[in-house]
């Protein structure tokens, strides 16, 4: 089910109402069934995949719970079987075409015929998200960071809970299982806070992202040969804003829906374009994925044992824990490998791998240039860090949106040529909208970070201003509410 639809709103109202009306004991089964219904509204035949992944990891985790530390081989075998099932499903449904294409490319180099017959595969909605969630569950059980849940419905809810099923946030068991188990009693605050987040989410998605989409499509449909460097910058920023509003909008709605039932989800975004470094950017963008990658991929690859599960990472590939624990080379290699996999997670295409490596280079360079920043004071100014971070993170989005890597490289080349800064090829409104969005995002960050928290003197104005704000948001959401575009992250 797509969030920006009347079907979903009707579903949500019915589910939230019944959730609070039902006796506490029935609520878990009710959410589990409602979540399966939610998924079935996309394609019911793919429910079996969600269930295979869910049941397999439920059984494996239970078995891991029953074994003791002396049975190391058995425990490893259980963990590997969980990884094989989840990664196997992901590899088949998401990466088969990519693998075959590359094998065929190699065949072509040798002049022989490659694989010609492959089945038609539909990418199941949310598979990248729920498989990561079930993998983390098995790994946590293996590491004994959690006690495997015996109640299947409760565990099923953790995996399939509809607000996060198709595009995250990617939850850890210790973040929600206790909440689902305890199921707090009704408070009016749950409803109001939930609606507030849902309204913000719809505003970002249907008012901003969906109205930016035609401009982005128009710009990226222009042959790259005709673009100027300023066009490329504008397109990078415009798409950067579109994907941010789209995905942050989704996350707001997911968090709001869970809140309506008294469940708190962790935040997934925190003004990423206000980051003053690339490390900070990844602590603000898709936080649940970057922290997952860190804890389940980067740290193990770097040879670091994850010890304290209760201190959930705030995202980002922080390496402070790695000091004295691992060699420098291993750390660097892990960084690049992790980022390449992170790229590949987004899509079965070399363009995404390139995007991952691009970010790895940015993080790596930032680390290596630390001593320069310490010596040249001006480089330590926050505004310089912010400027560099936003410019480079925006142009890093280009391979996400172009048709091919070669187009991406042509666009990057234009950025380096002074001649390419002498003309413009896009419609004036595209530059204007980009500039306004840049201004809007910057002002909202400054307001929320520096003005509102210190405006206690004007506390009496908060309620009337909130009413005005919500009135405008409701009018705009009502006007633009329609499922005209999917959420961009659904394709990942």
């Amino acid at each position: 089910m797509i969030f920006n639809s009347v079907t979903f709103l009707s579903f949500l109202i019915v589910v939230v109402f019944l959730y609070w009306v039902l006796k506490k004991n029935y609520r878990i089964w009710f959410i589990f069934l409602a979540s399966l219904t939610f998924y079935g509204f996309w394609r019911w035949e793919f429910l079996s995949l969600v269930l295979i992944s869910t049941i397999a990891d439920y059984l494996i985790a239970l078995e891991l719970g029953r074994t003791d530390d002396s049975q190391r081989t058995r425990r490893k075998a259980l963990l590997i079987s969980s990884l094989l099932i989840n990664i196997g499903l992901l590899a088949y449904f998401k990466y088969l075409y990519f693998i075959v294409d590359n094998i065929n490319f190699l065949y072509a180099l040798t002049g022989s015929q490659g694989i010609t017959s492959i089945p038609e595969i539909i990418l199941p909605l949310g598979i990248s998200f729920y498989t990561f969630q079930t993998i983390s569950y098995s790994v946590d059980a293996y590491r004994r960071h959690i006690i495997p849940e015996k109640n299947f419905a409760l565990y099923g809810c953790y995996v399939t809970f509809f607000p996060q099923l198709v595009a995250g946030p990617i939850l850890r068991a210790n973040e929600v299982m206790d909440q689902l188990r305890l199921r707090p009693g009704f408070k009016i605050g749950f409803i109001s806070e939930g609606i507030e987040r849902i309204l913000y989410g719809f505003f970002l998605k249907v008012v901003l992202a969906d109205n930016i989409a035609p401009l982005v499509d128009e710009a990226y449909n222009i042959p790259v040969s005709q673009l100027s460097a300023l066009d490329v910058w504008s397109m990078a920023f415009l798409f950067g804003f579109q994907i941010y509003f789209d995905f942050a909008g989704y996350s707001h709605i997911a968090i709001g829906c869970a809140k309506l039932m008294g469940i708190d989800f962790p935040e997934n975004f925190n003004f990423p374009y206000a980051a003053k470094s690339f490390k900070s950017f990844w602590k603000r963008w898709h936080i649940s994925l970057s922290s997952w990658i860190r804890d389940y991929l980067y740290l193990p690859l770097a040879g670091v044992k994850v010890i304290d599960p209760s201190k959930r990472s705030l995202g980002g590939l922080d390496t402070s824990e790695l000091k004295n624990e691992t060699s420098k080379n291993k750390k660097d290699l892990s960084l690049f490998l992790t980022w390449a996999i992170m790229g590949l997670w987004h899509g079965a295409n070399w363009a995404f791998v390139f995007w991952g490596i691009f970010h790895a280079i940015l993080v790596y360079s930032e680390r290596k240039m630390k001593f320069i920043r310490e010596r040249i004071k001006i480089l330590s100014f926050p505004i310089i860090g912010w400027g560099i971070t936003i410019l480079l993170s925006m142009i890093a989005w280009i391979p996400f949106r172009t048709q091919s890597l070669s187009e991406t490289f042509i666009m990057y080349k234009k950025l380096l040529s002074p001649k390419m800064y002498t003309f413009l090829s896009l419609r004036e409104n595209i530059y204007l909208v980009t500039a306004l969005l840049f201004l809007g995002v910057t002002i909202s960050y400054l307001l929320s970070e520096y003005i509102i928290p210190h405006a206690k003197k004007w506390a009496y104005l908060i309620t009337p201003l909130n009413i005005v704000k919500f009135t405008v948001i409701i009018i705009l959401v009502f006007t633009f509410f329609r499922p005209i575009n999917q959420f961009i992250y659904f394709q990942f």
Partner: protein, 381 residues
């Protein structure tokens, strides 16, 4: 306490938003009139209740156009394409008409008749589509085609004006990039074919639900909401109002008015020129003569183009026409004196009126009709 206060704020906002939406919906906008301005009126002529000048290529207007043509003896056709300059008359009085009808009446005694299709802000891709379709259903012998520099800033096919072609799954013949692009834009999905018109419009709003179970529930629930709530039904009008206000705000903030220079948008310019070449190729292949002309523009003030670029544009059109034996080129840019042009209400919050560079008064239509008539007749000989 915090939760209750927030609940109150959202409730109050919902009530206020409901009232605001109710009042916003009472104002029904005609967005075409907004673009034309209050001083200019659209006029699409009919003879004996059958159209000779149409705006949308839909079942009703095409059938009316064709019925009239049959009733009048199925003469050969001079097909006139145009934009709002063709159907818009500044300061229109009761007996005023436009050059499309004047030309029709002028040619009535002849063995050929004038039929017109004009769309506001029509670009050459739309003209290509209209011409390619109409030459299949009417015996077009001559095509009259104005090329406005302003319209080269537009791009794409507005499906709203071509419902019959879309329903017929019409395709342009050819392999050029522009033809592929246009064919892709008017491509009809099979599912859409089975839906009635109203449902088809809603379905386009549901693009992201294609081939999912949710598509059916969404259509069902939206139909219920449409039947229950005028405000819900009227949301396209609200969206239109929103964008018009944004446009006015932009013009106010950046001091943009009708006299502000309108730069060329390279990709759109190129695509429209490609479409023009396709029109000329089609006409050559179908043995149709073409009168290609630079339309009148207000010349008592500085025009809103870069003069060098405008000169290049005219030169490009002329040299293109010179490549074809069946194409005649005329420049009518100076024929309508400044006094016959009008003003329109300003598209910014603080100004009242601004110059109109596109639409002229009835007398201007007479002048253009005379010039066109002379050119067509000399070309016919």
């Amino acid at each position: 306490m915090k939760g209750k206060l927030l609940f109150f704020e959202i409730l109050a906002a919902t009530i206020l938003a409901g009232v605001a939406i109710y009042f916003l919906n009472r104002k029904q906008n005609n967005f075409e009139n907004f673009a034309l301005g209050k001083n200019t009126s659209s006029y699409f002529a009919s003879i004996d209740k059958q159209s000779i000048h149409i705006n949308k290529l839909n079942q009703t207007s095409l059938s009316s156009l064709k019925t009239g043509w049959i009733n009048r003896g199925q003469k050969d056709v001079i097909f006139v394409l145009g934009n709002s300059q063709t159907h818009g008359i500044n300061q229109k009085k009761k007996d005023h008409t436009n050059y499309a009808e004047l030309l029709f009446r002028d040619f009535t005694p002849d063995s050929i008749e004038i039929l017109t299709h004009s769309i506001q802000n029509a670009n050459l891709q739309e003209h290509l589509l209209s011409f390619a379709y109409c030459k299949e259903i009417l015996p077009i012998r001559y095509l009259v085609l104005p090329v406005f520099m302003d319209d080269l800033r537009e791009s794409g096919i507005r499906k709203l004006f071509f419902p019959k072609l879309i329903a017929d799954n019409f395709k342009l013949e050819g392999q050029s990039e522009i033809i592929k692009k246009i064919n892709a834009e008017i491509k009809v999905e099979e599912v859409l074919d089975t839906l009635p018109n109203a449902a088809r419009e809603i379905k386009e709003d549901f693009a992201s639900l294609d081939q999912t179970v949710q598509e059916r529930s969404e259509l069902f629930l939206n139909n219920i909401l449409d039947s229950l709530s005028g405000s819900w039904r009227n949301r396209p009008n609200l969206r239109g109002q929103f964008f018009v206000n944004l446009y006015i705000l932009r013009n106010t903030v950046f001091n943009i008015n009708a006299q502000t220079e309108r730069p060329i948008i390279p990709q759109r310019y190129k695509e429209n020129m490609e479409a023009l070449k396709e029109i000329l190729k089609y006409s050559e292949k179908s043995n149709i003569k073409v009168l290609l002309y630079i339309p009148p523009i207000r010349n008592d003030v500085k025009i809103p183009y870069n003069l060098k670029k405008y000169g290049e544009f005219k030169g490009e059109l002329k040299s293109l026409a010179d490549n074809y034996d069946n194409v005649s080129f005329k420049n009518f840019e100076d024929i309508v004196p400044g006094s016959l042009w009008g003003t329109k209400e300003a598209t910014s919050f603080f100004d009242k009126e601004e110059l109109d560079f596109m639409h002229f008064q009835y007398k201007g239509h007479q002048i253009l009709s005379d010039s066109l008539s002379k050119s067509i007749r000399s070309f016919l000989r």
